[in-house]
Symmetry: C2
């Protein structure tokens, strides 16, 4: 049990092996001693600290964003050694439940994010949330969809690897379909797989465009099993219907970027969505950019009509309550 500004987290640990938030590491390294050993089919509970590693608190201002120690960013809880997992196997992770903490933050971090060159000043936005919705701003409610921003296994290559980029073994995938009820398949590269979890999010759009979601501490329960010689080349997911129920009677607003580079097109689509939100709903550009990151989805609408591709940003209009 731990407290986060009046929101109390309790976890039923009776039937689970539990890793506390202090049982963690920074960066990926297959030489890190496992914190716990489980069998295929066993369930585990993780306490996950927020992506700042506690450097951002409910009392923080943008000043705290500016002086964050990047060496402490995105701590992971783990690793878990799974008996019988060997290179070439698939580690199957069933996400069972999330117990969110009720407070989260979204920040613009100088030098980070899809439009880092246009938003160069530290900015911090706090949100309270329930299991139903994130009270993002007056008149703006984003459906709560807790998921693990970072989940992965240790890479075969020895040494310490930055936690920021995701890899074929998963990691900081920020893939918002990894909600309770989803099943993730990861390729195992070392004996025991060495699973770790971090960077829990209360809500995020495809792309996580400003670089942060609704960043929040959570308890996560999951079950692991091993499928022999069934490693996918990249992570794969089965997601249940409730992973994406956002579209409402209000419909969706879609901006596009069109050109011969997908990254540039993504930037154009997001820039247009920010302008649209500012002009239509009166948010500041910084908050609109944050809203894109937590609620708008980036789609590749076409990637074959050479030389130009279309990237679209989709904002479900139900967020404007």
């Amino acid at each position: 049990m731990r407290a986060t500004r009046g929101v109390t987290l309790t976890m039923n640990t009776m039937s689970y092996k539990t890793l506390h938030q202090a049982q963690g590491h920074l960066g990926w390294d297959n030489g890190i001693e496992p914190r716990v050993r489980v069998g295929s089919g066993e369930s585990i509970a993780f306490e996950v600290v927020d992506a700042s590693g506690g450097q951002i608190t409910p009392e923080s201002t943008a000043e705290a964003v500016g002086r964050m120690d990047s060496a402490k960013i995105n701590p992971l809880t783990g690793p878990v050694y799974v008996d019988g997992a060997e290179p070439g196997d698939a580690l199957v992770v069933e996400l069972i439940a999330f117990e969110p903490s009720g407070w989260g933050w979204t920040a613009l971090i100088p030098g980070f994010g899809l439009l880092a060159d246009e938003f160069d000043t530290a900015y911090l936005h706090h949100s309270r949330y329930t299991s139903e919705a994130v009270a993002f701003a007056p008149g703006v409610r984003v459906p709560t969809r807790p998921f693990t921003g970072t989940i992965g296994v240790a890479p075969a290559e020895s040494g310490r690897h930055s936690v920021i980029p995701p890899r074929r073994v998963g990691g900081n995938m920020d893939t918002r379909d990894l909600v309770a009820g989803s099943v993730l398949r990861l390729p195992v590269e070392v004996s025991g797989a060495l699973l770790s979890v971090g960077d829990t999010h209360a809500a995020q759009g495809d792309g996580e465009v400003c670089g942060t979601a609704v960043e929040t501490a959570m308890n996560v329960r999951l079950r692991v099993s091993v499928e022999k010689s069934a490693a996918p080349r990249f992570p794969q997911v089965w997601a249940p219907r409730h992973a994406r129920p956002e579209t409402t009677a209000a419909g969706t607003y879609i901006t596009t970027g069109i050109g011969d580079d997908l990254m540039t097109a993504a930037r154009d689509a997001v820039r247009e969505m920010i302008d649209h939100i500012v002009a239509t709903y009166g948010l500041t550009p910084e908050l609109a950019y944050c809203l894109c990151s937590v609620a708008a989805d980036l789609h590749i609408s076409e990637v074959v009509d050479a030389p130009n591709w279309v990237v679209s940003a989709h904002l479900p209009l139900g967020v404007f309550a």
Copy 2:
């Protein structure tokens, strides 16, 4: 009225100005004489021929794909001159209704498509469809979602421009949200806007990865209006709830590609999905690639965790009836 292998198309043209399929052009050129002139707020009916310009028929085999005359590809019906539309204005296009023809084709065209280097042989797949579903293959039903693959206005730059790449003025956007009930906003670059429509699709996934959708002739009805000095930088869309209702109780299967190039990641995600479909459902690789193009959506899951991005391909499992 026209017939396509026993499927009869009729259109109520009483209250609409109508452009027949012969009233068209190849490529974009602001020097093409308008076929019809309408006022802001007026509705128009378009007969749209399929993207092959009739070169592929229900009797065609892959041999017809190999000898297609690319100069006749993707004919457009139009252009329509809209009174009062001037450069800097927005042309607002409300898509009212589609009358699909009931037969469509999906092809692998040598040298074209996201995995053109891996699928280098001409391939043709026919589908019959109703207003509800495309009978794509035994046991595979894709929800019918008719939309305009190509819709746009004439570019300011004079001369003839290829129809294949989409541009800031729209065109071959292959953006599947352009269904009946959606509202498209295009930037006007020449007097009268010069709107044309083509490349109608019965179903397509985000990305149109194999290069073709369920390609099919349709009648399209839409309404145009002009908003003065309101041009977006790129096309924008409001889409109704029914544009994306695909997720079913069966959930979604998601493959990913992870790396420092969005295009490579998109290719990896699609390659993985093809392998998954082949291994799990027994389709041939060619048909699986076609199924990705007509039913799987490409999402940019994260685009900020430098240096690696995540592109995911989403296949709604309800297609396996």
